[in-house]
């Protein structure tokens, strides 16, 4: 009889190589399943146990996960785009045109990057609205809300810095206007604009600065804060569920006592 797919995987999981990488071993006991999460460097940020109802669509609308998904798409499409893009004044626009018209699948990757960027900004706002109206930002999760605000700002800065890179008229004037808004900061506004653009006008230095911010500094900052954001979910008692909050449980218990007394 032919082996089933499951049996192949079980065989694979039993091999010495597999066991050297994933140390928790096979088995479906509660302990083994908890270890599978806790001993994985990527998954150990998350809780080893999740309430089943928090996995349903209605609990979160999956907005945070979808935001992470768009971020992954943006990384996966952005890196290949970097292979054909030179952040220099004579080449940036021509490279963008080449990606559109000459490079195999360049149009697909560029458009996927652009649409995912729009989707990510939308999803970040949707996620924040959902968290806000559910009241999931309240104690003990208030610091995770603050990290969420930082992530919102990083998302907007990623959008803004990416906007300049095609080096077309739209990009040029958008960054001109945007940097002039930055110069409206009291007292040090002009200094901020000067540092941001690396000069007095949107030019070669500004393009290079925005490129480095867009491809290195901001994505790394986003990953750093996303890691804290996820880790805090576990530390703050898992995803917010009204029925399981300590206050609700206490109130219910009090009500239960009261009704129990009445019954006596």
């Amino acid at each position: 009889m032919a082996k089933t797919v499951d049996q192949y995987f079980d065989g694979l999981r039993g091999t010495r190589v597999w066991r050297s990488i994933f140390r928790s071993g096979t088995g479906s006991s509660t302990l083994k399943r908890a270890l599978a999460i806790q001993q994985n460097v990527f998954l150990h940020l998350f809780s080893t146990k999740v309430r089943t109802r928090m996995l349903s669509f209605s609990a979160t609308w999956y907005l945070g996960t979808l935001t992470l998904g768009t971020f992954f798409i943006l990384v996966a499409t952005g890196i290949p785009l970097m292979f054909y893009y030179h952040p220099s004044v004579p080449q940036a626009y021509a490279d963008t045109k080449d990606l559109q018209f000459v490079v195999s699948s360049g149009l697909f990757l560029r458009n996927l990057h652009r649409w995912s960027a729009h989707a990510m900004v939308f999803l970040v706002f949707a996620h924040m609205f959902k968290v806000f109206y559910r009241g999931a930002y309240r104690t003990p999760r208030e610091f995770n809300w603050v990290i969420g605000v930082v992530l919102l700002l990083i998302t907007l800065l990623l959008s803004y810095t990416g906007y300049l890179l095609p080096w077309d008229q739209l990009a040029y004037w958008a960054i001109t206007v945007g940097s002039n808004i930055a110069s409206a900061v009291p007292l040090m506004g002009n200094k901020i604009r000067f540092l941001m653009l690396g000069g007095n006008a949107v030019n070669a230095n500004a393009l290079l600065r925005f490129y480095v911010l867009h491809c290195m500094i901001l994505p790394l900052a986003a990953m750093f804060f996303v890691a804290i954001h996820f880790w805090r979910i576990r530390k703050d008692g898992g995803l917010y569920s009204h029925a399981s909050e300590p206050e609700t449980v206490r109130a219910k218990a009090a009500m239960g006592d009261a009704s129990a007394k009445e019954a006596q």
């Binding site: 009889m1 032919a2 089933t4 797919v5 499951d6 290949p80 292979f83 054909y84 080449d98 000459v102 490079v103 195999s104 699948s105 360049g106 990757l109």
Partner: protein, 164 residues
């Protein structure tokens, strides 16, 4: 899987779960192969912004008789010999360094690993595995010497020279 039960009836025992597991893994496999093909196509440039292999070496009278002239930018020698003009690659056949003409010794020498060549490209000594290749050279309608760096021609043949 085809199993035969006791009564001899052939029964199909592929479970729904098993079928979908195989379908899912198969789809993942196809997607992975497609991604690999996609990545390969993307990474191979369709347009190159590299200098043309054809170099204009100017008018023949720039090169006096019995002279060897190195064009550093294009990596070729223009040599005006008794038999005519010919062109030699200046890129060492060992590991690609740019060679230099040594007029006091009358040889071409590579600074990297000491390979030495005669004026016609033949190797004298050193690690270079092959002689310096001859390149196609011809006169265009304006009377300029053109060299095609992408085309090798046999050394010392009549057609490998240009006579003016």
């Amino acid at each position: 899987m085809i199993d035969e039960d006791k009564t001899g009836n052939v029964e199909d025992t592929v479970s729904r779960r098993h079928f979908f597991a195989k379908l899912g893994l198969g789809s993942l496999g196809i997607a992975a192969a497609g991604t690999a093909a996609f990545a390969y196509q993307f990474l191979e440039p369709n347009v190159l912004y590299e200098p043309s292999p054809v170099v204009n070496a100017g008018k023949p009278d720039r090169y006096p008789l019995d002279s060897v002239t190195l064009d550093v930018n294009s990596g070729i020698y223009i040599i005006h010999s008794q038999e005519g003009y010919f062109s030699l690659s200046a890129v060492c056949t060992h590991l690609g360094c740019l060679t230099a003409w040594k007029p006091e010794l009358g040889i071409i020498a590579c600074p990297c690993h000491g390979s030495r060549f005669k004026q016609d490209g033949e190797k004298i000594e050193g690690p270079a595995p092959r002689p310096l290749p001859w390149k196609r050279i011809w006169l265009n309608d304006d009377g300029d010497l053109l060299v095609d760096r992408s085309t090798d021609v046999p050394p010392l043949q009549r057609d490998s020279f240009v006579r003016v």
